[in-house]
Amino acid sequence: MGSFILKTDVPNKVLNIELEGSFSQEDGLRSISAYQDTIAPINTKEYELNIDCKRLNVTAPEIVPLLEGCLQMFKKDEYKKVVLTLENNAILKMQLSRLGRSVGLDNLEIISTVTT
């Protein structure tokens, strides 16, 4: 089961999202609904979006269409910048980079952390 934590840092104008575990279609829909509730009172154009995926289980190929849908949503919300942090995963980084370009999310930065 996937879990998510949404935290709005109003003074610094940053929306932080932590994703963890394995996301089913239902988990995805629940998190998108919670995301919509969280951004309702803020002007996303003034915000930076930081998404921590380090504990997200990305082994299932099905996660990619879900993430693509999210990237399209972030594009629509016009953040100043979107930063996505992955646990060392060069393959997923390649996929997301291409998806980001294909949906026109030009301000997407993907960080693939390396643990030793």
Partner: protein
């Protein structure tokens, strides 16, 4: 009898384009004039990776994705993925398996990596075509060639440092009951310079035991006259064409190794092919090694030089050396 025909091809190269001046200044500072070398090989610009995120695998993924989008096919439509590289990003698992994951390939898909150095993608195309002729269960194959030589080029070595460009090519071939497609191929091997391009110079076993310092993981290259393969290549191509009763005038595009414009002209002249038939993209792309004949094919198609049904001749040469030539009907 079924044929193995080219469905389509696409390429990828980084956006950063570098002209000769950068390399001339680099080697001038070392007291080495490379102007003559660049002119002899036919260099002008090349595309170079200038960030930490790109490598041979990422370029291969981009070329393959471009191709799948263009053809409307998906990973599930591919029965075999063949990945040719002399600079694979990973030794294991195979890079073809990585591509399989990236494009969400089917469970039955065959994934194989191969390496015939600069002749790699041409050899992979030829081997896959022959495999498909013998195995009707493989209906469609994705063949990718990608090299990222720059990290392994010594900054003191003009040939490796100043001539190579970064790019990948991907081609889909399909078994078609109505098509001719792949016609025939020929190999010619001479090991007279087997020790002139060694990488890793110390061998993998020693590297695994002793490690390697940053910057020391370079190709050990002993310069030699690269035109030594021209005579043998010309002879083997003549054999290939004559045994298939194909006249030189039937070849509408010659997609040759882009290492040297001089070699392209010499082989073309020897086998009776005009300069306008031999495709040259090495001035723009630099030498992209394994993918270079297929980037030439991409140019021949996009420029309108060839149409469906035209015969295309490939020739390339791998380190050591090994000439590989084949003829296909596009």
């Amino acid at each position: 009898m079924a044929g193995i025909r080219i469905v389509d091809i696409d390429i990828y190269h980084p956006t950063n384009r570098v002209g000769n001046d950068f390399y001339i200044e680099h080697f001038d500072a070392r007291g080495v004039d490379i102007r003559g070398l660049l002119k002899a090989l036919g260099r002008d610009t090349r595309y170079k990776i200038d960030n930490d995120d790109e490598n041979s695998l990422s370029m291969a993924f981009e070329a393959a994705s471009n191709l799948l989008e263009k053809t409307g096919l998906t990973g599930a439509d591919i029965d075999l993925i063949a990945y040719a590289s002399q600079t694979p990003e990973y030794i294991f698992p195979t890079n073809s398996l990585m591509i399989h994951r990236l494009i969400n390939g089917a469970a039955h898909t065959i994934c194989i990596d191969s390496n015939a150095n600069c002749a790699g993608m041409t050899a992979a195309f030829e081997q896959v075509s022959r495999q498909m002729l013998g195995n009707p269960r493989i209906r469609r194959a994705l063949i990718i060639g990608s090299d990222y030589v720059a990290p392994h080029a010594s900054p003191d070595d003009p040939v490796y440092f100043a001539n190579f460009g970064d790019a990948a090519a991907a081609v889909i071939v399909e078994r078609d009951e109505q098509a001719v497609g792949f016609i025939d191929s020929i190999y010619q091997t001479d090991t007279c310079v087997y020790g002139n391009s060694l990488f890793p110079a110390q061998g993998l076993a020693k590297l695994g035991q002793t490690g390697v310092d940053a910057g020391a993981f370079h190709v050990k290259f002993i310069p030699f006259d690269d035109s030594i393969c021209v005579g043998a290549a010309s002879e083997s191509i003549r054999t290939l064409l004559s045994r298939n009763e194909i006249g030189a005038d039937e070849i509408k595009a010659a997609c040759f190794s882009q290492l040297s414009i001089g070699n392209i002209r010499a082989v073309s002249e020897n086998i009776g092919i005009g300069e306008d038939i031999a495709v040259y993209i090495g001035d723009e792309f630099g030498y992209t090694s394994t993918s270079s004949p297929f980037i030439a094919l991409h140019r021949a198609i996009t420029s309108g030089q060839i149409q469906r049904g035209d015969k295309v001749l490939f020739w390339t040469v791998g380190a050591g050396w090994q000439n590989v030539a084949m003829v296909v009907e596009y």
